[in-house]
Structures are given as C-alpha cells and as structure tokens.
C-alpha cells in the first residue's frame, strides 16, 4: 500500500521538477523548490530513511529557500526567454534518460533483500553497533564512528564552502551604495507573525538541541541539529531584522563556531592518537571501550552541529549584508 503512495508522490516529484525548470519567474521556481523538497522528504521517509528525511526537512524548509531568496534579491528574478539550442538539449537529455531507464532493468528491484548493496559491510554494521557502541541508531554509529573519516571530510567541505562564500561576498562591492536607506527590514509592523515567531524560536532551538543529543537514540545528529538551530536564528533575523540577529549572535561567534566545530572534531582524533589508538578510534578515550565510543561520538557530533550551524548562518549573513550595502 505504502508503495502506491510512493508512486503517487514520485509522479508529483517529476511534475514539480519539470514545472521548476519551465518557470520563467525565478521567484516562482524557488517557491516550487520548497514543494520539491517536501516531496523529497516524504519519499525518503517512505523508503525508511528517517535520518535523511529529517536532514532534508531541516535544510530544505528554511535554509535553502532563504539563501536562494537572498541571492535572487541581489541578482534579479526574471529569466530572459531563450532563443536557440533547446531542441538539441532536449534530444540529448531524452536519449540519456532512455539509456539510464534501459540500464535500470539490470538493477535489483526495489526492496530486494539479496541485492549486492545489502551483502557487503552493512550487515556487519548492523550486527556490531549494539556490541561496540550500545545505542540503537545505526546511522549515527556509522556516521560518527565506523566512517568517521568521511564525516570529517564532509565537515571540512562545509567549512571550506563557508570560507569561500565569505571570501567572495566579503569584498566591498564595486559601486558604492547610492543612498543609505534604512530599510524597514523585518516583519516588524506585523504584530501576529512577530508574537508567534518569538514564541516559536525557543522551541525550534530546543528541538534542535533535542535532535543533537537524542541522535544516538532516534533520528537526528549534528547535521540536522545545526540546520535546525540555524533556521531558528534565521527566523529571528526575519522578524527583527538582520542587524538585530547579528547583534544577538555576532559574526565572531559564528566564525568561532565554524572553526571550533571543525577543530573539535579533528582534535578528538588527535587525542585518540595520543592515547594510543588510531586516528578517530574512540575506544581508547575511556577505560571501557563502549563508553569511550559513546564519549567520542557525543563530542564529535557536537563539533559537527557547531560547524554546520555556524557555517549556514555565516553564509546567510554574508548574503544579507550584501543586500544591505548595495
């Protein structure tokens, strides 16, 4: 039954994607992107990926839309009509799609338990997680311990992207601001959204902290928590104006969070080496290897959460500050 829902939702996904590409008003395209993200999250949930769905929810509902909108405000939001080259492109991508569809018949079917993916290391992870870490969420266990190197790399990619955005947008714009207009930014004159928003922000941050520290027992972890808390602060920026949000959480703190989070993750690995283990082998951190694993995972998840939250907020502020100047 649930597969039929998935069929329905996937068809909607395709329709939405085509509409996004066809929309001439980029603003409309961004609005449709948020529907796309919602559909994607439901599909992930139906396909048993609760953690991934939570990530998509945390990132797609707030942060992506806001960053796109900030960029649109800076670049203009109408697409010029196309002149040529569309037919050729259409033919090429149709052929590509047909080739991929033809090749999918060699893939294992959806849900096939004998598929090669399920034979290699995954059963080992599922079997050993209770023994090594003694907590239920296998995804968190793999993310932070079994494949800790990967995650370290991803955190540094987020860090590098954040630094890149700050470098690109940090330079002073070529044409100086024509008039320094104090924009009535924020939904300050709308009483109801402001009251409700203020009521919601603590709950969003609280829920972020819950996903951060409950990540070992349910869906959640540093990535989701960072995105959720960033969304809470972005909501504050929308309600009170961006400058006010920057006063609450200054840029120094944000940069400190990005750098500190990434360093915290790396230094846990170094401490593991100093205590006689391998890099990111948390078992040596405490007398009992299971406790050591749990301690290490707790610390590096906190590092991931800090880094992601700081990076997303720095990116948001970089775009928003650009808008204020130009």
């Amino acid at each position: 039954m649930i597969y039929i829902f998935a069929l329905f939702l996937l068809t909607l996904l395709v329709i939405t994607a085509i509409a996004i590409v066809r929309a001439e008003d980029l603003f409309v395209a961004v609005i449709l992107t948020s529907i796309f993200s919602l559909l994607m999250a439901i599909n992930f949930f139906i396909l048993d990926a609760a953690d991934v769905a939570l990530t998509e929810a945390a990132v797609g509902a707030g942060v992506t839309t806001v960053i796109f909108l900030c960029a649109l405000a800076l670049t203009g939001d109408q697409e010029k009509p196309q002149k040529q080259g569309q037919k050729v492109a259409l033919v090429i991508v149709s052929i590509l799609a047909l080739v991929i569809i033809y090749s999918t018949f060699d893939n294992p079917q959806l849900g096939d338990p004998d598929a090669p993916v399920h034979q290699h290391v995954a059963p080992w992870y599922l079997e050993k997680t209770p023994e090594y870490m003694d907590f239920p969420n296998v995804v968190t266990a793999i993310l932070s311990s079994f494949r800790g190197y990967d995650t370290l790399g991803e955190v540094f990619v987020v860090f590098a992207a954040c630094i890149g955005v700050l470098f690109i947008l940090g330079v002073s714009p070529p044409r100086k601001a024509m008039q320094v207009s104090v924009k009535k930014s924020g939904l300050r004159h709308h009483l109801i959204p402001q009251v409700v928003g203020r009521l919601l922000i603590p709950f969003i941050v609280l829920f972020g902290l819950y996903t951060q520290f409950h990540g070992e027992y349910g869906p959640g972890g540093g990535f989701q928590a960072g995105a959720l808390i960033a969304t809470g602060v972005i909501l504050y920026a929308l309600l009170e104006g961006e400058a006010e949000a920057l006063r609450a959480v200054p840029r120094r703190v944000l940069l400190g969070m990005v750098v500190g989070g990434a360093l915290l993750y790396g230094s846990v690995g170094v401490v593991c080496m100093l205590m006689g283990g391998a890099f990111l082998d948390y078992s040596v951190l405490a007398a009992d290897p299971v406790w050591g694993q749990q301690l290490g995972i707790l610390i590096i998840e906190a590092g991931v959460g800090m880094a992601v939250c700081g990076a997303l907020l720095s990116i948001f502020h970089a775009f928003a500050a650009r808008e204020r100047v130009s």
Binding site: D25, I192, P193, V196, L200
Partner: protein
C-alpha cells in the same frame, strides 16, 4: 468496552478529518479568486488538524508518541493561522483587491502601494 468506544470515536474523528482535508483541497483549487481560496484552505486546515490529531492520539493512548503528537498539533494550530494571516495581509497590502476576481502574476506589481 471502553476500548471499542475509543476506537469508534477515533475512527469517526479521523474520517471526518479526512473529509475536511478533501473539502479544503477542492476549495483551494476550484474557488474563483485568492481570498476565497485562502478562506477555504485555512479554515479546513485548522479543523482537519484538530480532528486527525485527536483521532490519532486516541489510538496511541497515553505514551511519549501521543505527547509528541500533541506538541505537533499545538504548533500546527499556532503556525497555520499565522502563516495564513501574514499571507492575506501581504496580498492586501500589495494591492490585490478582494473583489476583482482573478489577477495575474504581473499585474499586482504596478498596483498602488
């Protein structure tokens, strides 16, 4: 006996919630202009949220899940009307007239502020 009564009650709530959801969807699609559509969508949203969540809570019994469901219901009841209010207010301020039938994407931009 109590269980059966609770079951029947929650089924009634869930079904009527589903009916409200459908009515809202159809209204949101079929009504002629923006303000009538927002009317249809927001009112049924709130009602359906209440009915469906109370229905599920009755099924779930007194557990952590029902606490979470209650929280979700509370937040939806807070945010749904707020978003609708902000939307209608923004539309009105941008000069979308409640009585002129339909308007296109472009026209309201040169409407009076």
């Amino acid at each position: 006996m109590i269980d059966l009564a609770l079951d029947i009650l929650s089924w009634i709530l869930l079904t009527s919630g589903g009916v409200f959801v459908l009515i809202g969807g159809i209204g949101g699609l079929r009504l002629p202009n923006f303000y009538t559509r927002i009317h249809a969508a927001s009112l049924t949203d709130t009602m359906a949220t209440l009915l469906i969540f109370i229905g599920i809570i009755l099924q779930a019994g007194f557990t952590l899940a029902s606490l979470k469901l209650f929280a979700i219901m509370l937040f939806l009841l807070l945010t749904g009307p707020t978003a609708t209010y902000a939307l209608a207010n923004a539309a009105l301020l941008s000069g979308l007239k409640p009585d002129t039938g339909t308007a296109k994407d472009k026209t309201k931009e040169n409407a009076p502020e």
